[in-house]
Each structure stands twice: as structure tokens, then as C-alpha cells.
Amino acid sequence: MKKFLNNPEDFVDEMLEGIYLAHPEVTHVGDDLRCFVRTNPVPGKVGLVTGGGSGHLPLFLGYVGENMLDGAGVGGVFQSPSSEQVLDVTRHVDQGAGVLYLYGNYSGDLMNFDMAGELADLEGIRTMTVLGRDDVASSVVGEEHKRRGVAGIFFAYKAAGAAAAAMKPLDEVARLAEKASARTRTIGVALSPCIVPEVGRPSFQIGADEMEIGMGIHGEPGITRKTLTPANEMVDEMMARILAEQSYETEKDVAVLINGLGATPLEELYVIYRRTAQVLDQAGARIRHVFIGEFATSMEMAGASISVLQLDDELQQLIAMGANTPFFKHIAQ
């Protein structure tokens, strides 16, 4: 295992210490470094809380900031935060307008957020939940509620963040987050596994000329293993999965996210985007927003994912809004 770290058990907390040292606009609740919140809350605003395992930077905590989220429960590498931590974050970010939980559809997170929400409700804090479940590889059509949340949750963050910043009420923020989430489709491909520091060895083996289509972002192996093809062919295959679920006959506007899993050079993401844009163009879509880079990683996994959000007028405006977090800066045009 070749990594820059000290004791593997201290990895997450030392990372957090580094983040707090670098970015005074975020802080933690009480003594627990893993209860991650904005330093300056916005009075009266709906609180947006996410959370999940570490090892996915900038996901999850990286989206805490202006016009985005208010807090995140930070778990160990690829592990859920505890319900206690989520509850602490919830209490801290609540401004009386209620709190939206917005996180990926994973059983560990689900249970802990549910428990936190039950306890928060007892304390008079109203919570609602919207899940990221954009990974088309993880469940068939008709079973979308079972899908994993991967990089596409970024769009739900952006929509919810903008809606909350516009001081919309909790139900409305939840409605918009849910709409963004439901209209997002993601498909990923991995070329190499990743190593959880405390495990110290790769999570799966993959041949020198193989790729995994539909890998998870926790080092889970992919759904289909294939021989590595040229980038264009690979994108065509990936996009076919997305196009099978989204038609651009009436609603043409889309936002696209090309996400690197960790080790893949930015150059290659642009090669992927080039083909993605060609395919979308041919399908009749009009690309209104493009985000390319690392948005949801799996440590040092080599791989990429393509997410497409089908926009309507209200989503288009929310996605267009500027945002400013330590890890994500979007300057509105």
C-alpha cells in the first residue's frame, strides 16, 4: 500500500484536521471532528445535511458551503457516520426551518440517518429525506428505488443548495432535490481497484486489459467485466445505458457531469467528454451545463463516471446558480 499517511487509523481525523486548518469557513460541532458544519450558518434557512464514508473527496463534506450544504456526518473510509453524529450535525444546522437529509442510498447510511431523524423529530426538529440513487448499473428500470447513489448526487446538492439559499421552505427544497435526484442517471467504469488504508490491500483484482462497467464507489467490483475498449466505444456503451432511460424528444436540456474516480488524469476525462457531447448531440439533447473533474472519488481508483441530469426550467435555474465551498466553486455567468 503506497499512500501518504501515518497510522491508518488516524487517516480520517488527520485529513479532517488538515481541512479545518486550511478552510476556516468550515468547522466541527463540539469535540467531534466528524461532525462537519459551516462556520457561519444562514439564519432561517432550511438546513441541508449529508454524510457518508470518507475516501470520496470532495464528496461528501466538500459540498458544505455557500449555496450548497450546511453540514455533513463524516464516516470512516467507506463507512457511515453514526446516528449520534448525524443528530449532532442536525441540531447544529437547524435554524428553525427544518433539515433536509440528502445522501446516497446505502443501507448503513439509511439506518443511521433514519435513527438520527427519529431522534431529531423527538426534539422538535423537522427532517425530511431525499436519497441519491442515480447509478443505472445497480438496479433495473422499475427498481430505481434500489439504486446506489454515486456522483450524480452532486446535481441534487446543487439544486437543493440553490433552493434553500433562495429561502424556500423545507417541503419545496425537498421536492426540488427529489426532482433533481430522480432525473439524474449515472454510469461508471473502473480500470483499477482502490485500497482502504485500514485494509491495506486492493478491494478487487482486475486484469491488465480489463475494465469494470458499473463498479461501485466503495471498491465494490463492477457489475460487468469486459475487455478495455477505445474510449469512444466505451462511452457509446455507457451512454446507451443512459439513453435507454432518458429521451430528449421533448425535454432537450441536460446538465452533464464527467467525474474522475481518483487516479484518472483530467486529460482523459476530456476525451470522454468529447464523445459524450457527440452522443448527446446526436440524441437531440442540448447541453446547458458541464462539470468535469473529480466530484465523487474512490480513493485512488482509476475510472470515470458519466452523469446526465435532464433539466426543466426550474432545475436549469437552480443548477445555474453560483456556489462556493472549500472544494467546489461555481461562478454564475
Binding site: G75, G76, V77, F78, Q79, S80, P81, S82, S83, E84, Q85, Y106, S107, G108, M111, N112, D114, M115, D135, A137, S138, S139, K146, R148, V196, E198, V199, S203, F204, G214, G216, H218, G219, E220, P221, I223
Partner: protein, 219 residues
Amino acid sequence: MDTLTSHDIPQLFARLSKVFADQKEALITLDGQVGDSDLGLTMAKGFAAADKAVSELGDAPIEAQLKAAGAAIARAAPSTMGTLMATGFLRGSASAKDCDDLRTEQMALFWRAFRDGVAQRGRAQVGDKTVLDVLDPIAMSVEADAKAGTGLSTAMDNAHAVAVDALERTRDLVAQHGKAAAFQEKTRGIQDAGSTVAVILIQTMADFVSHGAARPVGT
């Protein structure tokens, strides 16, 4: 032993902590097949924390011991199985309210509460290829033995035996929950990782009841 008292519980958790530390690599590998390889880490951490919490309690009733164990696991290992094990112990703790010791009858209540807590929290059904597929037969077996008036040691051995069978049968199921669910048909033939944890748990308890703390731990 035909009963577990509050004097035994700390030793039982010490044993569990040791067993899950030993099984760490095996569980990592098992969870890696159609999951994220963390099960060994979380179980080792969770039961180590439970051990510590229980041993630090000093003299305390069983209910408090089990509660401390559950709360410690919830904090130390909030993964799927960590949270479910925590829920199980917390619910089991409530079922042991005012018990001075656990005989077969109380043990049946404990496992029923454990299973029901897990089912409720995880929203899984028996047959969904989860830990529930082993917890349910365990609970039913101990319940039957309680009705039949079987001693604790035998009841635990019986439960262990049905758990081992149930674990084997998880191979025939298709995962409906957790990270494995994405793999659908590919999970057929693979032994469920969480169910393996349940077998280790009941085996260690059965062993402990039969042989006390003296017997060396092994699998």
C-alpha cells in the same frame, strides 16, 4: 453453564472481541466479493468497543451491560452490520430488563428482540439474503427450546447448528439489500457476509456457555 449472569457478560464480550479480531481478514475477504471489504474492520472495531464499554461498567445489571455494548458498537462501527448489531443488542437489552441472569427462556426473548430490531431497522424480509436469514432461525430455535424446557447450553448448541445450516442456505438466495443487491443473480452461490457474522456470534456464545471463558477461541 445453564445460565449467564452479569459476571459472565464482560467475559463473553472479551471473547467476542477476540474472535472478531481473529476473523478480521476472513470477513474482509468475504465482504469483498460483492461488497466493500469493510466487514472485518467494522466487526473487529465494534466488538472491541463493546468489550471496552462493558468492562468499564463495573458492577451493573445485564440490561445495562447489553445496552452499553449496543451503544458502543453504534458509535464505533456505524456500517450496516455495525448498526444492525448495535440495534440487536439495544433491543435485546430492553428484553433483559430486570433479569438477573439469562436462562433459555430469557435468551429466547433476547434473540427475538434482537431479530425483530434488526428486521425493523433494516426493513429486510427473511429470504432477502441478509443477516436476518440466520437471526430468524436462531430466534426460532431458542424459542422452541425454551418452550421445551431445554437447558441453556443445549439450546445454544442447537441454535448454533441451525445457524450453520441457515448460513449455508444463504448461498441459494439473491441479495436484495446492501451493497450486494446491485449484483443480483451474481450473488447466488455466495455465502452472505452478514449472516456469517451472525453465525460467529452464536457460535461464540454457545461455546462460551458450554465451556466458560477457559476454552481457547477458534473457528
